[in-house]
Symmetry: C2
Subunit: 403 residues, 2 copies
């Protein structure tokens, strides 16, 4: 498998047609409405935000997903249709019904997704008016346009295609995502849509997506804020051959390719994090179990002090240790904790390593991407998460928004 | 009781003598070493940081506190003596021994406190050289000078005195604190010292301090980072009459006065939070229990999105709802959630109240201090916490530090 990269040509996925138009939902002349039409044999899995304040489209998409196999995904930007009460639920239902009618499928076969401002109504007028043109524009190679159309404050689209050989068949995976980190619940926030032409039963597809999201989208953080509208949706169009976990190696290879696609999209979101100037990988290892490894990694990744030090290019290991110390690890023996910046040993025995030179730490932290690695000395569990720094621009963007 | 205010004259506390000098620990000509001498009858209680990376003086102060009643508190700024390994433990022990000798008390009767840079050695030389002059400078009215001497990056000292009538006796409580929020573990961070002239047994004193800290210092947050050196220390000098919980009303009145002193010092820390431009009270009520009220209040208080909106004066209730939604409240019914900015009703039924006008929210959020109030509609538990906004200056201060 080649390394994924943005800008590579996106591959069409047999069994999935894509269109995007400028419907004028909130601003004129901006792609803001996207439709994916799925072949009748398609299966679909999705994971949604765990935030208790779930947007109306999230609630409805969950319900439609249980009702039967989806035939279309309808995605709008501009307004998130979140915090909009019963009226928002009606709006989402109206749009699904209209899209279903235009595509000649039941309303319940349409999954709605919205992203944009929270708490303001999503107007149905522009969407209803744009639907005929949207349907007419459906085509297999519409992915790149859709990647643009789902963006809100993103500075660039996020998209990737991979090929993976399954038996004698060259299968395709194409994914697009939007979100400038999980940093903006009111531009609510992270959406990803991934399609493959294989035929995969709903059960294994859902399980695979859950596992993969846990190792990709759920491992990124910009500021710990999660959104009301986050969703990742995986479609298997069924145009190609069937694949199941029983296929052994083929299933594993497909899982790896899917993981690579999701990881690329997830990391692209962090790299495009609002105000981000550095991409930081945080690895926690030698933990007693995965839960505590993750707790320590999150404490580091969410620490404003660590993140401002990253912005400054400051190898401020005291702040990292303090974050480790407040992660709630029961009985942590600080004399066993070690810390590296890339390959530079900084902390051993719970304090500064005698051989550590500040200049070496500064060299690492001056890079645009580096790794903070912490070993807890308690076991064998490990985790990696990805985050970015906290800059003036983060404050500017989030303080200026809505003004 | 009158409202507490900084700048009021600090009252001496019979049985406690205080001195502060410029020892040249890290910078010349700056008050950086403080000593409190306690009468032989004094009792003492203290609470310390729960961070697993506890500084050497914290570890030693805990041990000394268990060994018997303290006779002195020795406080230095400049270096936190944290992340300094076995050598740091030796430094703390050396300083306690020297202070004990100078005061003619056992080393174990000296409680050490340090604040300043993490991970660099605290030099003993300047402290040892300054001790004789420090002891000679001890006097009952040294509190105001001590309030200055314990500061690091604080823009102003934090101190308050209160009188409280216990039986026929006019008792005194004087407290000083340092810390510009819990935002800076490497200037590590929050210290508070409170003295009264009453005689209180160690058990009730410790319990009262714990309860009071839970309703004051533990309710403030600047960015959720906690320090390696945080400590709050309460001394009852025994110069005045005895007081115990059996005293009923008198005990309650003393508790109230102590709470007022601690709350004033705690809120003064938030008001002086690095880069803070606004002081925000967050009240969560109608919660099922205190734990979930606190979880929701903390989620709001720690949200960078809420805090940048506060900086901007933006009544961004969508961000507040999103923080409520991710606080982990099991089975939260969002249709019962209500939200106010001061007295302005913003959210009812889980969405924008029909009568809410953006201009009203803007008027509240333009103030230098206001209250965000959230009702969960689940029960009767409530909590208040205090925080500040997240500004450009927060990033500047924490990114520039150590450069």
């Amino acid at each position: 498998m080649s390394e994924p990269a943005d800008g590579e040509a996106l591959l069409a996925v047999p069994g999935i047609e894509v269109a995007a138009v400028a419907a004028g939902i909130r601003k004129p002349d901006r792609l803001d409405l996207t439709l994916l039409r799925l072949a009748p044999a398609a299966t679909c899995a999705a994971v949604f935000t765990r935030n208790a304040f779930q947007a109306a489209p999230v609630v409805l998409a969950r319900r439609h997903l249980q009702a039967g196999p989806p035939r279309a995904l309808l995605i709008n930007t501009g307004y998130a249709n979140a915090g909009t009460g019963p009226e928002g639920a009606e709006v989402a239902a109206t749009l699904c019904a209209a899209a279903g009618k235009a595509l000649d499928v039941p309303a319940a076969a349409v999954l709605p997704f919205s992203t944009g401002v929270i708490g303001e109504s999503l107007p149905t007028g522009p969407v209803l008016a744009a639907l005929p043109g949207l349907v007419a524009a459906l085509r297999p190679d519409g992915w790149a346009r859709a990647a643009q159309a789902i963006c809100t404050t993103d500075t660039r689209p996020k998209a990737i295609s991979r090929r993976v050989r399954i038996g004698g068949y060259e299968a395709t995976i194409t994914g697009i995502a939007k979100g400038a980190g999980m940093i903006r619940p009111d531009m609510a926030t992270m959406l990803a849509f991934i399609g493959t032409d294989l035929a995969i039963a709903p059960g294994p597809l859902a399980e695979l997506l859950r596992e993969t999201v846990d190792r990709s989208f759920n491992r990124i953080t910009v500021d710990g804020d999660t959104s009301t509208n986050d969703a990742v949706c995986l479609v298997a169009s069924g145009a190609g051959p069937a694949l199941s976990p029983a296929a052994g190696d083929d299933w594993a290879r497909f899982g790896e390719a899917l993981q690579a696609v999701c990881l690329h999209l997830a990391q692209a979101i962090v790299r495009d994090g609002e105000g981000a100037t550095r991409f930081v990988e945080i690895v926690v290892e030698d933990a007693a179990d995965a839960r505590e490894a993750r707790a320590v990694a999150d404490a580091i990744a969410h620490s404003p002090l660590v993140k401002t030090a990253c912005f400054a290019g400051d190898p401020n290991w005291g702040r990292i240790l303090a974050a480790v110390g407040r992660a709630g690890v029961e009985g942590l023996d600080i004399s066993r904790v070690r810390l590296w910046l890339d390959e530079v040993v900084v902390v051993t025995g719970g304090g500064r390593d005698p051989a550590y030179r500040e200049a070496d730490g500064q060299r690492v932290c001056a890079q645009s991407a580096y790794t903070i690695r912490v070993a807890l000395g308690r076991g064998t569990a490990a985790v990696a998460v990805w985050t970015c720094d906290l800059s003036y621009d983060y404050v500017r963007i989030n303080a200026d928004y809505r003004t």
